[in-house]
């Protein structure tokens, strides 16, 4: 093709330099990459995916099956960008070559901005062709909130290539007026925006190219691409129709394109061939010949398989003196040395003629684009006149309009768009009288009868060069092989031949594939149908799906009020549930083990402080609170006195452990319940579920207060001395403030602090809870006032080591999904006097039988062996088959005991203390001894200091 000296919607005063496959080329502002390449004389854009045949551009829009490029962006690369809808920008760098339909990704991060936008509207119109524009105009005039999305670079659709007039104006002028009217009325018009995924309840995912269609330097901080989540009260699918190619021998040569594309390149981009031949089965194809002729292009003829058509367009062609090859077909082509089309073989009633041409425009007719309708299983039926599927009935809340609805002329499409808008608005309660909003008009056109033609049988019988799907290099021979292998179902044909499996889902190949399969198997076309359309209609990159949810915006990271205090002490953090917790506070030069060693010995020998604000906290109150907690917790929490606490556990209905925690009775009808960090939300939901579904009449109110309080545990033999300094007015002696007692008072100047004598280390410990933001006051005061006592901040690693030494479990870590309180060594807490959730299952003998996986302690035989969580425990290392007795649930270096100890679940473990097992570590396994879970201070002497 060559650029005409004038015309087109391009700005010749603003040339743009770009590179394609390393070649420096020039196009104009207003070009697409495809038109710029054609204008620069690049007809051969690359080679096909498996046969390596030269290929060119075949369309000017969404039908494209050949023209895909790899586009370089700052520090990244975008694969499989459709050339016909990529606006040219200064400095664009694209690759085609042999990779035109493959694409690749680069290692490393993509720093481009991709974001998301939620949008709501009364009416979403998909497609801004004649029907979509008519619908959107009417709806916005009626005052509705309207969104109009268009996949192409500009609105207008078929109006941009057709010479029709609308309301007496040239179509292109009408389109720009309509766009301006829409914009001014608040309608959001998105271009380069593909409705990719249709969701239930009128949801639509739309992928829009914004910065990606501009030079990086001109993107101005805009996102490369944006994913819209649209929710509309009504949707109009005005997705138009795609032109269908015709399959014949060597139909893939660069220079062969669709008639609509030929017209679009002429009208929008002033690109024309030297000699343009037309091969069409419908009147519409004549437009290409007429337009070329009017532009001074030599048109050697129009090949039409029909007998002379009676329509207006063929009549105009005859009047213009164009040569008509009636009852003729193109049966093959030949190419020059570079692969470009140079002649077409036309077979007619009087034999075969070779016709010289550099462009052959082909039209097998137009077929509705129904991908979005089909994604939601919308029904279609075969229309014999169009030779394609048309919508049977639209889905609830949706309307299909224009060419997508089978209205193929501009006049019909405009009217159908307005009709759909009226109906859609009525469903939203907006009535639009016909007089108030006239339907745009376009002159009527008389059409001749259609003839549906899919394939021209190759005269020499070789159909290995008759391409059905250019993207996948699927030929008629491939379909013949599939049918020969006994495959008949079109979905199976698709998988066997790969027809329609390309990035464009074989949009312009599927009807031909179905019809040719039908003729090969002797079945009606309607019975074979086409392969389905699945979401997304266009490939979406993972980048656009993830959007801004990257790094710190990916998963919420919760921090306690003490976070900065920990950081100031050089803490190393680790994630625990969504929380970021301090795992340890290493001193310069310390190894992990040395830090845990030092911190552990400080707690066992002096005093340590730890931030336990992440523990779940729940306020439970009301006249029935005692009854309620008694029903849920395994032990007699109802008998806890005011000012006292009790360690207890919750079971699922099946008797398995849900969580454990401390229940504190603050007042007669008021409790403060703690949960483990990871179960805070679960326990609240569990309580609400019972209250809302089973016991709604009970007067109990459950309120999560985790973030109301910061909690710091002060633990160790000198903890009492430190708490006495922090809370001088509080009686902290063992007699006045015994284990499991709770007091309220002033701590470090903070009034109303709650102090509870509970311990997760086995040491004398006080848990101090104060309002969330005041946590740092307590922390700082403890560090300052405890300096001479050797106060040491300790982290999660040491907290773990201390609780493992004491055999304190973490539900979910030291238990399995089916572990009962009996299995976890908590059988002592199960009340014999009352009923509670899970009790009936626990009372079954099976829940208490001997061989169950039971909690035990394990001790490594030597100082070196780390006990790794999750490691299997076997009877003998060499045994085959291995009999797995259990697994390690927790392991740590015990500074206090000078060796590695752990907890494990072992079959019948409670009766196996003293037995030797082997952890599957290393080649020979590591020897461990099964012991009591309580490794340290079995009598609990240290609890009271």
């Amino acid at each position: 093709m060559r650029r005409l000296p004038a015309g087109g919607d391009i700005d010749r005063s603003r040339p743009l330099r770009f590179r394609y496959d390393g070649r420096a080329l020039t196009g104009f502002t207003g070009d697409t990459l495809a038109s710029a390449l054609l204008g620069a004389g690049v007809d051969v854009i690359g080679t096909s995916v498996s046969l390596g045949r030269p290929r060119g551009i075949i369309s000017a829009g969404l039908e494209e099956s050949s023209g895909f490029a790899q586009v370089a962006r700052a520090g990244a690369t975008e694969p499989l960008v459709r050339m016909s809808t990529l606006p040219l920008y200064a400095g664009l760098e694209a690759e085609g070559g042999s990779r035109i339909v493959k694409g690749y990704l680069r290692d490393g991060p993509d720093d481009g901005r991709f974001d998301k936008r939620f949008a709501h509207c009364d009416l979403l119109v998909v497609g801004a062709g004649p029907a979509g524009l008519a619908a959107a105009l009417l709806a916005s005039r009626a005052g509705a909130r309207v969104m109009l999305v268009e996949a192409d670079v500009v609105a207008g659709g078929a109006l941009l290539r057709d010479a029709d007039t609308v309301d007496g104006q040239p179509a292109a002028a009408w389109v720009s007026n309509a766009s301006a009217t829409l914009h001014n009325s608040g309608t959001l018009v998105l271009t380069s925006a593909t409705a990719a995924v249709a969701l239930d309840q009128n949801g639509m995912i739309v992928a829009q190219r914004i910065g990606a269609n501009r030079a990086v330097s001109e993107a101005g901080g805009l996102p490369e691409q944006r994913l819209w989540h649209v929710r509309a009260r009504a949707i109009i699918l005005a997705t138009g129709a795609l032109e269908r190619p015709i399959v014949f021998q060597d139909n893939d040569r660069p220079g062969i394109m669709l008639t609509g594309a030929a017209r679009a390149y002429l009208r929008r981009f002033a690109l024309a061939p030297d000699r343009g031949l037309v091969f069409t089965a419908t009147d519409d194809g004549y437009r290409a010949a007429l337009d070329w002729h009017a532009a001074g292009v030599v048109v050697p003829g129009i090949v039409d398989p029909r007998a002379a058509s009676t329509g207006d367009l063929p009549a105009r062609a005859r009047a213009a003196g164009l040569r008509l090859f009636a009852e003729s077909v193109v049966e093959g082509t030949s190419a020059d040395g570079s692969g470009r089309l140079c002649t077409a073989r036309v077979r007619g009633p009087r034999g075969v003629v070779e016709v010289e041409c550099d462009v052959l425009a082909v039209s097998g007719g137009f077929e509705p684009t129904l991908g979005l309708h089909q994604q939601l299983r919308g029904a279609t039926r075969y229309d014999a006149r169009l030779g394609a599927a048309v919508p049977a009935t639209p889905l609830p809340g949706q309307w299909i309009a224009g060419a997508a609805n089978g209205c193929m002329t501009t006049r019909d499409a405009l009217a159908d768009g307005a009709r759909a808008a009226r109906e859609a608005l009525r469903s939203c309660g907006i009535d639009v009288p016909g007089t108030a909003c006239p339907t745009p008009e376009s002159p009527a056109l008389l059409e001749g009868a259609h003839e549906v033609i899919w394939r021209v049988v190759a005269p020499d019988g070789d159909e290995s060069r008759s391409f059905v799907d250019l993207h996948r290099d699927t030929t008629v021979s491939g379909l013949v092989r599939a049918v020969g292998a006994g495959i008949g179902h079109i979905e199976h044909v698709k998988r066997y031949t790969l027809v329609g499996t390309g990035v464009e889902q074989g949009r312009s190949a599927k009807t031909n594939a179905g019809a040719i399969t039908a003729s090969l198997t002797g079945r009606p076309v309607a019975d074979v149908g086409t392969s389905g359309s699945r979401p997304p209609t266009e490939p979406l990159t993972f980048r656009i799906l993830s959007g801004r949810a990257q790094g710190p915006m990916y998963e919420p990271v919760r921090t306690t009020a003490l976070h900065e205090s920990h950081a100031a002490l050089g803490a190393i953090f680790e994630p625990a549930a969504q929380w970021m917790r301090a795992s340890r506070y290493p001193r310069a030069g310390e190894t992990l083990r040395e830090t845990v060693h030092r911190e552990s010995l400080a707690v066992r020998g002096a005093v340590g402080i730890v931030d336990v604000s992440t523990l779940g906290k729940i306020d439970v109150r009301g006249p029935d609170a005692t009854w309620f907690l008694d029903r849920l917790y395994a032990n007699d929490v109802g008998r806890v006195a005011v000012g006292k606490a009790r360690y207890s556990a919750l079971c699922h209905l099946d008797g398995s452990l849900l969580d454990d925690g401390v229940v504190i009775r603050i007042a007669e009808q008021r409790y403060f319940v703690t949960t483990s960090t990871g179960h805070a939300a679960t326990v609240v939901e569990w309580m609400e579920e019972w209250l809302q579904t089973e016991w709604p009449e009970r007067r109990v109110w459950v309120t999560p207060v985790t973030e109301r309080f910061s909690t710091i545990a002060i633990a160790g033999p000198t903890a009492r001395a430190l708490v006495a300094r922090l809370a001088p007015a509080m009686e902290v002696g063992n007699a006045e403030f015994p284990f499991l007692a709770v007091r309220h008072g002033t701590v470090a100047g903070v009034e109303g602090a709650q102090v509870a004598r509970v311990s997760f280390s086995g040491e004398l410990a006080y848990e101090v809870s104060v309002p969330w933001a005041l946590g740092p006051i307590i922390w700082r005061a403890a560090l300052t006032q405890g300096e001479d006592l050797g106060v040491t901040p300790y982290g999660l690693d040491t907290l773990q080591a201390l609780r493992i030494e004491k055999g304190y479990i973490i539900v979910g870590q030291d238990t399995e999904a089916l572990s009962t309180p009996y299995d976890a060594g908590l059988g002592w807490m199960i009340s014999a006097k009352k009923d509670f959730v899970g009790r009936r299952t626990l009372d079954r003998r099976a829940s208490q039988r001997d061989g169950r996986q039971q909690l035990v302690g394990i001790a490594a035989a030597d100082r070196e062996t780390c006990l790794v969580e999750g490691c299997a425990l076997v009877r003998a290392p060499g045994e085959s088959p291995q009999s797995i007795e259990g697994h390690i649930t927790s392991g740590c270096w015990s500074a206090t005991l000078g060796r590695h100890v752990g907890l494990a679940l072992v079959a019948g473990g409670r009766r196996r203390h003293g037995e030797t097992l082997y952890a599957t570590l290393g080649d020979s396994g590591a020897q461990v001894t099964v012991v009591d879970p309580v490794h340290y201070d079995a009598v609990g002497a240290r609890r009271d200091g």
């Binding site: 974001d115 998301k116 608040g186 309608t187 959001l188 801004r548 900065e564 109301r708 969330w772 933001a773």
Partner: protein, 207 residues
């Protein structure tokens, strides 16, 4: 948490860097918070005691003598009262609940972020799925929704628009990052004159 701001220093820097005239994020006023739980029988007593005809209906906020009152769920309302006012407010409400409800001091369990400016709907629609169009979400409305993945209570204070987001303190870092990022995006859109939201025609041409 320097200078009495409830935000960590790095977040303060983040939002002051991102904010511009048309979308500004700042820490909101400090408040004490009360959760009032009331069965049907107690709702009217509490409303009367506060000089109101009723407590706010679903997804609404009303000003009361105890400060703003937000509907949270069929039997729960949240009161945002002056700092240090929780105890007095509890004493006002508690006697009217009898055994049909409870009032719980939840001060500090959410902090307020304030987002103001004409571009804030764009900011919020980058991370919050609600329809915030003025025709649907008018001043005085509140709703519980998400910012990114985190639940927040969103309140439209006035038509500026001025929004208050009640965010659990542990999630503030995450929420502020999302909002600051949304503000950056909105600023780029403004600078590039990019249309972003569909809204109803300013002049309805039909009855």
């Amino acid at each position: 948490m320097a200078d009495g701001s409830p935000l960590a220093a790095h977040l303060g820097a983040l939002i002051s860097k991102a904010s511009f005239d048309d979308a500004r994020l700042t820490p909101g006023a400090r408040v004490d918070l009360l959760s009032v739980r009331a069965r049907r029988s107690a709702v009217q007593r509490v409303a009367t005691a506060l000089g109101q005809e009723s407590l706010p209906p679903p997804n609404a906020c009303r000003a009361t003598i105890l400060g703003d009152c937000f509907w949270l769920r069929p039997d729960e309302w949240l009161f945002a009262t002056v700092p240090g006012g929780a105890e007095a407010a509890m004493k006002t409400v508690e006697p009217h609940l009898l055994d049909d409800g409870a009032v719980i001091d939840v001060s500090g369990s959410r902090i307020i972020l304030e987002l103001t400016g004409p571009r804030t709907r764009d900011v919020l629609s980058s991370c919050c799925p609600l329809d915030l169009d003025p025709s649907v979400f008018e001043p005085g409305r509140c709703a519980q929704s998400i910012i990114g993945k985190v639940s927040v209570l969103l309140h439209l204070v006035d038509a500026t628009p001025r929004w208050h987001l009640f965010v659990p303190p542990s999630y503030v870092d995450y929420v502020v990052r999302w909002l600051a990022d949304g503000i950056e995006g909105a600023r780029a859109e403004q600078e590039n004159a990019l249309a972003t939201t569909p809204h109803s025609s300013p002049v309805r041409m039909l009855p």
